[in-house]
């Protein structure tokens, strides 16, 4: 199960943080700081997996943004790596050529997309088209 998802830029500013487990605010800040420290300086040739406390973080870097998933130690790393990419493709499609600023100004939409993609720490939908269509329907409700 996914325990949390973080989107951070190189400077460590959190652009999106979604926790599927209850954590204190202070603990969340600590986690965000530690995960950033773990991933930011890793050689791009290295694995995309880092052990983090009793779990592991699967991360992937897109330009200046790090997408990190914290998952259980027995989870399939390669599958989660693939799901990060799928999420990025969805964002890219939705914002047509997504950049960090899109995520800053439309953070609530990013959360909405994420909620269509992952729920309760598990994958909810694997079709990019289905999610984009769903987002279109939701926007019509506004």
């Amino acid at each position: 199960m996914i325990r949390f998802i973080l989107l951070q830029n190189r400077q460590g500013k959190t652009r999106l943080a979604k926790y599927y487990i209850p954590l204190e605010e202070s603990e969340k800040h600590k986690v965000e700081y530690e995960v950033h420290r773990l991933v930011v300086n890793r050689d791009p040739k290295f694995t995309n997996f880092v052990e983090f406390r009793t779990h592991k973080v699967i991360y992937r870097r897109y330009a200046g943004l790090f997408f990190s998933l914290c998952v259980d130690i027995t989870d399939n790393e390669l599958a989660y790596l693939e799901s990060i990419h799928l999420f990025v493709e969805i964002l890219d499609h939705f914002f047509s050529n997504v950049c960090e600023l899109d995520l800053v100004f439309n953070f609530h939409k990013v959360y909405l997309i994420l909620d269509e993609f992952i729920l309760a720490g598990e994958l909810q939908e694997t079709s990019k088209r289905a999610i984009i269509e769903r987002m279109g329907e939701l926007e019509k409700q506004e």
């Binding site: 040739k45 694995t47 399939n76 790393e77 953070f107 994958l123 694997t126 939701l138 409700q141």
Partner: protein, 877 residues
């Protein structure tokens, strides 16, 4: 319009915050914005409510407190429109979690929304529930969610399925309600519903054995068919990821099959075909394909045994291992670790590749590979594996050396086939990565070296060479210095040279050179320096020709600012200059350290050793204890062990070093009899070099239980603190050594004879050759003081020369010894030596006198040492 009024749009606020140049400026903007939002909240203005909350969420992401907005979430959720509800639920998930009491208030709103006619609002409610529901909410809302599993829109069904996962995780009892609806979900065609249904099925199986049983019987075939269909499906653009249709669904299906197959041979059997197909047909040139293969391997490893599939699985991992992508290699190593339990032979075949991974530049890979190698070591491959690892030690990254060193040491200790190999490997590790070696590891090495008497020379020569090559490896320096101190003469004389050794010519002064270089090296820490001093002292006795030079080196530390070094230097200097006669026995070789006891203690007290390793490191093997609290406490511990029980539970290396020959032996029943052969910590400390033969084993009991138990510590304290105000150890005559060692002690005042009360005399000590009798008298008006006339008589046929009597008492007593009447004791009782003692008993009337004595003399030019305890003093002294 003021850009910071509550009327600002979210977008404008974000711009304003982003425009801030400094953190202080940002705080200012946020403060103003929060104040405006608060005002708006208190005005209860519904128009701006969702805009305010959106702003608050952004502010929250920046790390500012936003708790005051929590109630706004609830109000928004309760409002009728979708846009308000959307922001309300988002705020609920961001600002609150399942532990807040406020959440209780929202249960009813969620319940209403789950029954809402607008399916998008139902979706919002399900999403919030799935992400933050508490056990209580789970119980209240489970029926609604269960009903929604059959909702007409697939988007709601899949959300309801994931929501159910959360519910049964919170309340496993509810699992049975979901079994039937889930069985229906597994027949769905919609991938989203299917993947969530499969996931829910797996979680139900974990939560309830009945559910597992049900799904095994009713759904296995269906799931196998679904997997078959997905695996064989033609190109489906909607779900295609690098040529594979929905790898995520593949993986979920493989996972649920694993849950079903585990522990059930029939079920496992029914999935063999499809697993074989997935394992052989899946493309492995892209990450998505590898992810499926990886999951497939895990399922094969976990379901009931099928030899053919296992081979297939291990081969896939073998291919993974040689993949260029680090991620793939990482998961392969991970999985091989689990595969060892299933088929270790098959994993052994990939040993060479795994070893290569230890040398990878990626720390994640290295760490996994090293752990795997560690699991692969056995008696047959330990030598080549250790060789490889040790060779890699030279070139590995500094941050990896610690882990690598620890693992090599652990392998060597666990699997070492013979001592010479053990010593060889450890010495290599010390030379390469000495600074990463833990204290207990080099302590153990010293224990092994002392026990391998035929390898003493070999080890010391090896270390001598290594020390010249690598001075900065701290633990290497320590072991080398210790060995050169102990076995210095073997270094020079090439004693016990093995065939494999290169000839080595070392002169006595070379050996001193190397110690001098070490002690003066900048990387030499306090412990190593102190060890160097001891080694130098030992060499001064082994190599008399270098004695003068050694004394000069030691002399340089007499002014050291470090008390420990200063004290040692002063003591050793005085030993070399003034006590030639006792130097050789002081600098005697250490007795062999007991391996079994050491390893037993180490095993029994690993945490203790780790936590006090700092303390241990300042204890030096040659019996000198630093005045730290921990070491002293240990000494105390040991010597306070009044009970005759074995002391092996103490758990500190120090005890081995100091008291190795104090191994447990039951207490002699008659404690009133002076123990002729007794030796104790104190005396041990005093007689570092006493040959073990004389130090026959005795219980680690120092003084009788009715004496002040703190005495040994105290005596030790005084021993090692030259400035101690009162000394309790005095010695006879001018030829004595202890008094001089403790330069600066007050000399005994002139003795005043008193006409004290007479007491009967006692035979305080009797051995086969010697009798000591005490006559007591008291001075009137001073009941605490007892005068003792000691008289020594020689029962043997030989004359005793250089006769020295020494005594020590517990803290509550004060002892003064007057000079003896002579130092030669005629044979066959023809005369005696007399000596007066004065004891002041500060606990007069409460405690009796007690004394430890030690008598040394020469018979026919041979040293004899007798020791004992005197407990049979009259009670009223």
């Amino acid at each position: 319009m003021n850009p910071f009024s509550s009327g600002t749009r979210l977008r404008d606020m974000i711009r304003a915050i982003r425009a801030c140049k400094t953190a202080a400026e940002e705080r200012g903007v946020v403060r103003k914005e929060c104040a405006a939002i608060r005002d708006s909240i208190s005005e209860n203005d519904p128009d701006y409510r969702h805009r305010n909350l959106a702003k608050l969420m952004f502010i929250h992401m920046l790390g500012y407190p936003t708790h005051f907005g929590q109630m706004e979430c609830l109000k928004l959720i309760a409002s009728p429109g979708f846009p308000e509800k959307r922001i309300g639920y988002l705020g609920l998930m961001l600002l609150l979690d399942e532990r807040q009491e406020v959440l209780m208030l929202v249960t009813n709103s969620i319940k209403q929304d789950l029954n809402h006619t607008n399916q998008y609002i139902v979706g919002l409610a399900l999403c919030a529930l799935g992400n933050i529901c508490s056990a209580e909410m789970a119980r209240d809302l489970a029926p609604e969610v269960e009903r929604l599993l059959q909702f007409r829109d697939p988007n709601i069904r899949k959300k309801a399925a994931l929501c159910s996962i959360r519910i049964i995780k919170k309340v496993p009892d509810l699992a049975e309600n979901f079994v039937k609806p889930v069985a229906a979900l597994l027949k769905e065609k919609h991938h989203g519903v299917l993947i969530t249904g499969v996931q829910l099925c797996a979680d139900l199986c974990k939560a309830s054995p009945e559910a597992l049983d049900y799904f095994r019987k009713k759904c296995t075939d269906g799931l196998v068919k679904v997997l078959k269909d997905v695996a064989n499906s033609p190109y489906a653009p909607e779900y295609d990821i690098s040529g594979i249709t929905d790898p995520f669904l593949h993986i979920r299906l493989l996972k649920v099959l694993r849950v079903l197959g585990q522990g059930d041979a029939d079920t496992s059997d029914s999935m063999n075909d499809i697993l074989a197909q997935v394992a052989t047909k899946t493309e492995s040139n892209k990450n998505a394909g590898n992810a499926i293969l990886y999951e497939c391997v895990e399922t094969i490893m976990n379901i009931e045994d099928n030899g053919g599939l296992h081979v297939l699985a291990i081969n896939i991992l073998g291919r993974f291992l040689s993949n260029r992508d680090n991620n793939i290699r990482y998961v392969a190593l991970n999985m091989l670790m689990r595969a060892i339990a299933v088929d270790s032979q098959a994993v052994q075949r990939h040993r060479a590749t795994i070893l290569e991974c230890v040398k990878d530049s990626d720390p994640s890979i290295r760490k996994r590979a090293l752990e795997l190698v560690y699991l692969l070591v056995n008696d047959t491959n330990v030598k080549p594996l250790t060789k490889e690892l040790t060779e890699h030690l030279e070139v590995s990254d500094p941050e990896f050396k610690g882990d690598l060193t620890a693992k090599i040491c652990s392998i060597v200790e666990k699997f070492s086939p013979e001592k010479i190999w053990y010593i060889d490997q450890m010495l290599k590790v010390l030379s390469e990565a000495g600074k990463y070696v833990k204290d207990e590891v080099w302590h153990a090495l010293i224990v092994v070296i002392t026990n391998a008497s035929d390898l003493h020379g070999y080890a010391v020569r090896f270390l001598y060479r290594a020390l010249q090559a690598a001075v900065e490896q701290e633990t290497l320096v320590r072991v080398a210095v210790w060995c050169i101190g102990e076995y210095g003469e073997m270094l020079v004389n090439n004693v016990g040279r093995l065939d494999i050794e290169e000839p080595l010519t070392v002169t006595e002064s070379d050996a001193v050179d190397v110690l001098e270089t070490s002690i003066k090296s900048h990387s030499c820490d306090l412990t190593s320096q102190a060890m160097c001093l001891i080694a130098l002292l030992k060499l001064s006795s082994r190599f008399p020709s270098c004695s003068q030079r050694i004394n000069e080196i030691i002399g340089q530390y007499k002014g050291s600012f470090v008390l420990e070094l200063q004290q040692r230097a002063n003591e050793f200097n005085s030993i070399i200059e003034r006590h030639q006669n006792m130097r050789s026995s002081l600098a005697e070789r250490m007795p062999v350290l007991d391996e079994a006891t050491f390893s037993g203690r180490r095993a029994g007290s690993v945490p203790a050793v780790v936590s006090t390793s700092q303390g241990v490191s300042v204890i030096l093997p040659n019996g000198s204890a630093k005045l730290g609290t921990a070491p002293v406490a240990d000494l105390l511990d040991l010597s306070l062990d009044d009970a005759p029980a074995p002391s092996s539970s103490g758990g500190e290396f120090l005890q081995d070093l100091l008291g190795v020959n104090l191994m447990p032996v039951s207490l002699q029943p008659d404690t009133n009899q002076a123990q002729k052969s007794g030796s104790d910590i104190l005396l041990d400390l005093l007689s570092i070099g006493t040959p073990p033969a004389q130090n026959s084993p005795s219980p680690p009991q120092l003084l009788s239980s009715n004496t002040d138990n703190r005495s040994p510590l105290d005596i030790l304290d005084r021993l090692s603190t030259p400035s101690a105000p009162s000394a309790q150890i005095f010695s006879t005559g001018g030829n004595s050594s202890m008094l001089d060692l403790l330069d600066g002690l007050p000399s005994s005042p002139p003795m005043s004879e008193g006409n004290g009360l007479a007491h009967s005399s006692v035979t305080a000590f009797e051995s086969s050759s010697l009798i000591l009798t005490f006559n007591f008298s008291k001075q009137p008006g001073n009941p605490q003081m007892t005068l003792i006339d000691g008289s020594f008589t020689n029962k043997s046929q030989d004359v005793f020369t250089e006769f020295i009597f020494q005594a020590a008492v517990p803290k509550f007593l004060q002892l003064q010894l007057d000079p003896a009447s002579g130092d030669t004791l005629p044979a066959s009782g023809n005369g005696s030596i007399t000596q007066k003692l004065r004891i002041t008993n500060s606990q007069h009337g409460k405690k009796s006198l007690v004394m430890r004595i030690r008598i040394s003399y020469k018979v026919n030019n041979k040293d004899v040492l007798e020791e004992g305890q005197i407990r049979n003093f009259p009670r009223d002294l």
